[in-house]
Symmetry: C7
Subunit: 240 residues, 7 copies
């Protein structure tokens, strides 16, 4: 590796921005995070890892409310993700102040991605080591996007990030359909996460939904998550 990555954001002979690719490696090591878009709305879910017995998982956020109708689930360097989430919230509020209406989900996604792009092109700064799943409901209905460290974003029906994302994606590719209500969608999300979480307990999963009907972001409380987990364990019990 001839040092093309040392002067932070320069092209390699193959036309790659190595620093952006390496930032992607940080995302791959992140905690499992997923988002699903269906007729009933959008579900964002993430695993919480108990890195030490004395960690207080309730103090750790993995799914963030950005605006009444938008949520974000990040993966990668937590500190970098936090900066982007603050920025997203700021842009959403500024939009409301300017246009007196909620911002579109893609608008907020583009703003985050444009900020990320700047950090890949100007000397002296490194890219953000975080990818974000952005979900919400706006005038176009349920919307789901994923931004990568280099500032690229695409729309998805369902997507996953983090170190076991491929297992989750395989599962979702087999089981996903758009015609789900929010309940089915939430259940699908928990099932997908259950494949990879260290242990299927209520404090190991965090979930937020934006229902098409209400256009409101809501964090699922522990009872709701527990009910979902129990139903899945029950189903698994009966099939074993």
């Amino acid at each position: 590796m001839a040092g093309y990555d040392r002067a932070i954001t320069i092209f390699s002979p193959e036309g790659e921005l190595y620093q952006v690719r390496y930032a992607g490696e940080a995302v791959k090591r992140g905690w499992a995070t997923l988002g699903i878009k269906c007729k009933g709305g959008v579900v964002l879910a993430a695993e919480k890892r108990k890195m030490s017995p004395l960690i207080d998982l309730s103090s750790i956020d993995k799914v963030y409310m950005i605006d009444e109708h938008i949520g974000i689930a990040p993966s990668g360097l937590h500190a970098d993700a936090r900066i982007l989430i603050d920025y997203a919230r700021e842009q959403a509020q500024t939009y409301r102040l300017l246009f007196d209406e909620p911002a579109e989900v893609e608008y907020v996604t583009k703003k985050i991605s444009d900020l990320k792009q700047v950090y890949t092109q100007h000397g002296g700064v490194r890219p953000f080591g975080a990818a974000l799943i952005v979900g919400g409901v706006d005038s176009h209905g349920p919307m789901l996007f994923q931004t990568d460290p280099g500032g690229i974003y695409f729309g998805y029906y369902a997507t996953a990030l983090g170190n076991s994302s491929s297992a989750i994606l395989d599962y979702l590719e087999k089981n996903y359909t758009y015609d789900m209500d929010i309940g089915e969608c939430t259940k699908l999300a928990v099932k997908a996460l259950s494949l990879v979480v260290e242990s299927l307990e209520v404090d190991r999963i965090e979930m937020g939904t934006i229902e098409t009907a209400t256009k409101k972001y809501r964090k699922l409380n522990t009872d709701e998550i527990k009910a979902l987990i129990d139903k899945i364990k029950e189903e698994r019990g009966s099939t074993q």
Copy 2:
């Protein structure tokens, strides 16, 4: 490779800006993108790749409206392209504010190219990893330009970018004539794209036209693209 590319934008002994050449490699890896200028107007077309079964291709833009009479189809790093497209829109609006008339296609093309040139000459920044096909109709009639990462631009009758551009160019060189109306031109574009797209389906192609008659940019809807695809499949069916 003696490290001439490490201090971002310096000349190699042969008088080359390696970083600009490497940025060109990023363009070569881009999705197939083309533009055709004919008497009836200008067609911009691009392929959309389904990188994952759960990607929502409808959320991905590959041909962008810049002003009522101008469109752009980029290839290369999406994030870089997006910044240039925002910049092009901004310059077009500023021109209208200053001169109370639409900007010429070459004016917008030159503005983008000048910005690109700055990013090849000043320390601390890397070149843009995107080439843009700029099409539109102005006082000179139908105009078609292509800007490269280093800020060079030339006028074309037809041009193509991305990882299968040579196949498309071969096809266009054999089949192109200026005396086409917009319908013939659009059909030629789809035929050219059909040589390289993963599968000839409606959500895999995005097209925009600027007709000489209306001087208006218009995105072809899925029905129009489907009709074109069916006609081509039909023709192919009959010739096999």
Copy 3:
């Protein structure tokens, strides 16, 4: 190690920020520092090393009052820690001025962490070589956080930093329970520290508590610490 750490904050091929990891090494060499959250409140405790017979340990602070209801115990480069502590005090005061109420413990923790993150992403500066245990009582009750050099923070029931933190953590994992009053909590802290301090004397331990009842930060005076040490020595005497 091909020099990925030389241009201060860039990603290595594995997606790591080596400078942040190395800053963590400075923390690991720090003096033993711990924090425990229990029903009765939060205890922050740290060892003081007598690096030279002529050092005046009473002049050395290891547990700092940030606001009436918040304290911080840092580990790592003292000079770096001091800058962060000044910054935390400033943010707490600014919050009071703006909102005429005390800041939440997580708010102050996040502010410190966001500052740390900035120092990992911008050229020309190195990360802070200090981790901080932030404890306090706010509207959510007793809260305990730990920020690392990269700007990541998590909530904890109990945590420890410095060169013998693993011994302390083992001990806490075995002996910790949330249902402790402040007295029990303080005793647990001294016991944990007593495993690692050079000699179990009153001037070798500094402690601060924030009781749930009073929401007030208080530094334990030497008599209180001496009483705790005597009780522990007594217990140990009877068990040998």
Copy 4:
């Protein structure tokens, strides 16, 4: 080459600015460009290469009007040349605003050269990869200058740039005389270019003149160029 060129504009042990020399290599690879000064005025001419069958040569400028009485024909990196041409136009207009009279040809030439010099002496920027032939008629009569990438300029009776400039210069040295009218001068220019252009066709040559009599810059239209080409082909035909 021990890296003296890496920190952009520093002297090598032999007192050379390597980056300026390498920028000169970019000029040597440019399209053939020439300028001739004679009693009747100044001719600027350049070849246009058809890099692809679908390129629209009419959209490519190779000889630029700077002011009513001045023209420039650049060679080297087109993008760099364009920036210098904009700058030259700006300086010419500013001079008119300040002094209410047209700028001298050498004044504009010096302004361009001073800008180029700055880009060879300050860190963080690379030299311009373009040489310019500046022609015009002012109070001193017909004037012809050539600026190199390093900011040096000299006056010429005739000069040529680009990858076949030596062949052109040989021809001009043998056939040049000052006592020509603009017609003879134009013909000499086409003859010189005809030695190197890919094919002697009208869209492959661009020419501009500034006649001593009118002091006006004028671009030769295709008919005029065609007439010149035909005359030369005719002469060649008769001599074979």
Copy 5:
């Protein structure tokens, strides 16, 4: 040494700031400097080396008055020390202007240390190559601090800097007691210095005291220093 110190202030894999450590080496080569805190007040003393027979030792300051009640004795790069001393004086005056009372000794010490820390964290600057012994009497009574090049400071009963500080520290550790009046303290200081100075003459020692009673900084004049030296020589004479 893989160059971790070249980009001035970055962490080595072991979590060390090499540039700070190397700055410490400059301090170790400094002239012997000490400070002693006792009930009667604080003594600052330093050796003056006659680097050349023609040097005018009376022109060299080694113990500086910062404010009426504070003095500083630096060791290391004189030029760096001078900048810090000016800064300390400035901070002390600013404090008086703001709060209309003298600054605490630790306040001035912290201000110097915070400035030092900044020079270890921001690119483009190197650390200060000087350590300072800061002594004075404030509301807390006699105070004595020592700041290192990295911005760390600790309180001391007695401390020493410079190339023979270990010999002095050994001596002080054996002979120090807090319960000394200023006379005894001054004598202890001279005895300690006498172990290391090139020759025990009056122009080779500079001393300042801040008496608890007066809270006033005073430089000992040559007679006072001569008297101390004579007493020590006398004692030594009687014991041989």
Copy 6:
């Protein structure tokens, strides 16, 4: 050569600024340039090389008027020299505006030299690759200075620069005397130049004088130079 010259203006172990020395090499490759001070005034002379048959030597300045009573003859990188000459003219005019009298020759020389010094001490810029011979008549009578790339200047009776300066200097050392009138001085200058110029023709020599009597800078016209050349050829003819 371990790269001490790469970070532009740093000292080598021997206390040399390599970049300044290398800039001196550029001067040594310059065209022969000389200056002579005598009772009658000051002569500045330079050779003009016909680098190409089509170069218009009349357009090339080698001796520049700075103010009514001051001239400069540069050697080295023409572009760099031009910047310094503009700066000298500016300083001379500013002096007149401020003090309503002409600047002293040394004042202008010092201003140029101070600017050169700045470009040897601040990062990011390289030294000027040009040395200047500054001549004029002021209140001190005829004055002659030479500035080198590093900003050093000395006064001379006669001096020479460029790639054959040693031959010229040998000649001047043998034939120089202060007690010459301007005519004798001018002839000596031409004789000296005639040793090194490619061919002793009128367009190959440029000369300016500042006569003590008039204190006015004057460029010798071609007739005057031709007369001098003829006289020399004549003398040579008679002595062969």
Copy 7:
């Protein structure tokens, strides 16, 4: 030597600033320069080297008047010295404007040294390659200081700089006494210089004095220097 000096002002493992040491080498290669302080006042003297027969030594200053009562004799890079001398003059004038009295000699010396220190600590600039001997008479009587490239200054009875300073210092150490009048002091200076100058002629020595009686800086004219030289030659003649 692993390149610790390349990033201009960083510490080597031994705690040295190599760039400052190398700047010192430039001083060692300087022309012989000395200063002597005695009861009668201060003498500053320097040799002038005739680097070329045609150099006009009368145009070269080696001893500079800074203010009515202060002079400076520099050694090292002339251009650097000149900048410091301008700065010294500026500070002296500013002091007069602020305090309506002449600045102390040490005040001016400290100002120069503080400026030098800044150029050793901030990135992007190199140290000054000049040491200065500063002499004058103020309220403390005759004062003599010497500043080194790193910004350190000490007071001296007599000191010398430049490539033969050790020979001069040996001589001064043997022959110096404070109780001299200005005449004796001047003679001692010439004798010391006479050991090292290329030839003991009047234009090879420059001297300035500041007499205690007058507190006025005065440059010795050639007659005075000639008289001193003759007396010395006479004495030498009689002793041979």
